[in-house]
């Protein structure tokens, strides 16, 4: 089992020496004149570095939104009213956004369980949970499309809206659009990876179509890192854009 994976160093965990506790271990890792992230495969370390860069992208968007909102003399539209929906005759503030939040958190939970069963080599459960995650992600994107359609019908444009500061539309479409794009790509990759898992690629050592490498169940965890990050970004968008 291990032998046929030995040529794929990129996904291979070297047996890492145990770190000394606290700062001594931290300094020893960085000063070792070797790879610093011991015990962390390249795939996982690079995903973390990518997510760090993505953090800065979304950080810049949210800072731009803050700057626009703080510096305008025109009142900012009240998100609680803008995103309210009429349900059975009563106006529910932010109800669609709340449902979207719960759907995304549910998908994060199913993804975490998929990673768990992946490491147990239970490929049926792992694959099905990933497909469920992808389905919930697709639901999220669908609700976002509904929300965009509703706002566009109400006259929200990147340059104007009926309720107040014009920057509301541009920041809204920019931030939620970028986040929705991330979710969409996540769904696509989830489906691709779920197919590999269900087919048993990581047990049979089948080589990938694109990289010609043999994969490992760690791919599921790396996929999970991306998916949880998408959920994480939504936590910040929900707090700063919708609730603030």
């Amino acid at each position: 089992m291990v032998e046929h994976l030995a040529d794929d160093r990129i996904m291979q965990d070297n047996p890492a020496p145990r770190a000394a506790p606290g700062w001594r271990g931290f300094l020893a890792d960085w000063a070792s004149d070797q790879s610093s992230f011991k015990g962390v495969s390249w795939g996982k370390a690079m995903m973390w570095v990518f997510l760090l860069s993505d953090t800065f992208v979304f950080g810049c968007f949210l800072v731009a939104y803050m700057t626009a909102r703080m510096s305008t003399v025109v009142p900012w539209p009240n998100p609680s009213e803008v995103f309210a929906l009429e349900i059975a005759g009563t106006s529910m503030p932010l109800i669609l956004i709340a449902i979207m939040t719960f759907v995304l958190i549910s998908s994060s939970g199913t993804m975490a369980l998929a990673v768990h069963y992946g490491y147990l080599r239970d490929r049926r459960k792992a694959g099905l949970l990933m497909l469920l995650t992808a389905f919930l992600g697709a639901c999220f994107v669908g609700m976002q499309a509904f929300e965009w359609t509703k706002l566009i019908h109400e006259g929200v444009r990147p340059w104007e809206n009926p309720w107040g500061a014009a920057q509301f539309g541009s920041t809204f479409f920019m931030i939620t659009g970028f986040h929705g794009t991330h979710v969409t790509f996540g769904v696509i990759f989830l489906v691709i990876l779920a197919r590999k898992v269900l087919r048993g690629d990581f047990d049979s050592g089948r080589r990938g179509f694109f990289t010609s490498r043999r994969g490992q169940y760690e791919s599921v965890e790396i996929m999970g890192l991306y998916w949880h990050f998408v959920d994480l970004v939504w936590v910040f968008i929900f707090a700063f854009f919708y609730l603030w």
Partner: protein, 111 residues
């Protein structure tokens, strides 16, 4: 299945842990929605929103993304740089206040 504690090489933890974290994420999300639904205003609103947000973010990063079991080297390499965004925020708050001041002085009465 025998060993469910954290390995050095794989991230393998009991299902119950994930379910508990999941449950808390639901509770915290409901809490932040209630802030808006009830209509809490003022300092209480901002602090509640931020507390719920940070707790949720912490749970996701620590348990779902397994950061709690990673080595200190990776934790610091990934979690410290985003703090620079706070510096950026401070700079842009000053800039926004200045922009607002010039707008109020020169375009009094709205755009």
């Amino acid at each position: 299945m025998a060993d469910v504690t954290a390995h050095a090489d794989t991230q393998h933890h009991p299902v119950k842990l994930y379910l508990v974290v999941w449950g808390w994420l639901f509770v915290l999300s409901a809490g932040s929605y209630m802030v808006d639904y009830v209509g809490v205003q003022g300092w209480l609103r901002w602090s509640l929103i931020l507390v719920f947000m940070l707790l949720k973010a912490g749970l996701i990063v620590a348990f779902f993304m397994h950061m709690a079991w990673e080595r200190l080297t990776l934790i610091y390499a990934i979690l410290l740089p985003p703090l620079l965004i706070l510096v950026f925020v401070a700079i842009m708050v000053a800039e926004s206040n200045y922009t607002l001041l010039t707008r109020v002085m020169n375009f009094a009465g709205g755009t």
